[in-house]
Amino acid sequence: MATLEIKDLYASVETKEGKKQILKGVNLTVHSGETHAIMGPNGSGKSTLAYTLAGHPKYEVDSGQALLDGQDILKMTPDERAKAGLFLAMQYPVEVPGVSMTNFLRTAKTEIEGKAPAIRQWTKDLNASMKRLRMDSKFAQRSVNEGFSGGEKKRAEVLQLELLKPKFAIMDETDSGLDVDALRIVSEGVNRAKENTDLGILMVTHYTRILRYIKPDIVHVFSDGHFVKTGGPELADELEETGYDRYLPQGADSESALA
């Protein structure tokens, strides 16, 4: 049983207008096997939270901690965080030309396990996971994310989740850009990972659509850089009905309300 504990996290990003604080006191505790939905309007800082936890160099931690089983991952390099058991499924997975998926996956698995996986078992696992995600086997020979469709990229993220077996996964808008079938396949993959490894999940999303497939235990509303409300699955239904307006800071425009 592992625990991820975010304590009073403040973080900023460098913009053209100077330093801008985005995260303003984030507190959250996630245990193994729990699924937390983090919902909120555009621009509330959900993605910033995801990237700050993963260690993207663009975001600077001002204060606070993120303890994974007592270890502050904010003091680690991104690869050390991954080795500690954190995984970020990105909204826009990056293309890495010339690096084949198979080479990349095997390198990552080797780094995370500390030793190269036995080739026969690895090939078997890779093929089985790809098959379950309805990915063509030719995929493994292609360059990482290069020329993948939106849906293919998300499947490739979930493939990595299944193979690397982290303790906690942050899914950053994994549902965006997916049609109904792809959404179901991707969700099944996430649920499988949860069943097999007792994964803890932070599901960042605008919409309740994906929550029909990946059932959250706890739903949070994120606004203006921190959590403003926490509830059970019924909170998601309420947000679907009423929107985020009432959770916005005074005088702020909701992009989603305008859209």
């Binding site: 390099t77 965080r81 991954a82 390198t107 360059s143």
Partner: protein
Amino acid sequence: MKDNTKQTGSVEQPGQTASDTSEAGSGTKVREREVTMPHRDPNNPYAFPALMPSSADKAIRSFSPDAFSIPTKAQDDWRFTPIDRIDEFFHVFEPSGKTKVEVSGIDGSNLDPDLVEVSEVPKTQAPSGTILKPNDRVSAVEWASQATAHVVHVKGENPTPVLVKITGGGLDMDALHLVIVADDRTHADIVIEHEGQARIAEGVEITTGKDSHVSTTFVQEWTPDSKHVGNHRIHVGEGASLRHSMVTLGGSFVRIRMDQEFGGNKGDLNMLGIYFVDPGEHVEHRTMVVHNYPECKSRVVYKGALDGKGAHSTWVGNALILPSAPVTDSYELNRNLVLTPGAIADSEPNLEIENGNIIGAGHASSVGRFDDEELFYLESRGVSEREARKLVVRGFFGELVEEIGITAIRDHLMGVIDRRLSRGEDEQMRHVLEEN
């Protein structure tokens, strides 16, 4: 010297005739295919660039060194070149003759004389000296300085790649002339490897016959104190495809200039380049692709990585599409990956399009450092920054290495690139980390 000038005169004549014939030939083809050429508009000379006077290919072509002035920085062809480092190649010299040339199968096997003929002939004996003409002073000096040419003549279906191994003869100046001839409908892969220590002027002529499919891969792995000035003159036959790859991985100074023309319709030229430049080294590749016949295709893709202070690369890609070449499809690209601060990459694509009826004439050029997003993506999956950088550089070159398509060469190149990367990381990579 006097002797050299005389020989020069004798080969200039056939070269001239060949070029005249090709012009006439293309004119006929154009009319047969009923491709409409634009008509002049006296009020707007820019409306039909095909009728504007050509500026690109007015440069002198001659076998006589004295036809060219001594290179200076003020000349366009030499402005990126540190010319004071190679001024010994500006005057005709007595070659040492120490450079060794060996030809075999790529696996060391003996060659089938029915498929590959190797000979050394007086330089004025055709086909030597018949493919275009030297295009700058150092190329003319190379021609004037040496007396013989090595000829590799391939024919038929060659199952095994041919290896031409050129071993430098030390720092005494030498000149070498190599001629590669492929008969009509030949299939062959030829690898030309340069290694050892050298101070060499090299001329290469390549001519491929009708409907042949040939690859020539030139690898420069000289010692860090070597110098190499080179000139390639290339003729791609009608309906033929030529993949011309240039891999420059070592040498204090390497400058190679390539001139090309097509010999008929539907030729296909694919020029690939890979270079890795260390501190203080100058590596320069200049390609000149001339579309002189209809429906030909050309691709020029050069990629380089520069590592360390004073590493300097130059790529100049010229492409000329003549009025005689409708339905041309051409593209050129150069990418430079600067691994550490203090390196300089010059990259200059030049296009002259004198024909409105083409499929494409694109170009792209870039100089950049590591992409932070790529590195972060790999790191977020547990790959250390050092390994991530290696993966990205391997990937950067990997695509091109795959395209070279010869297994023995591919494995060798990736091995060399890996060794360079692991050598670099200890000292050079640390500097990057510190300075960022």
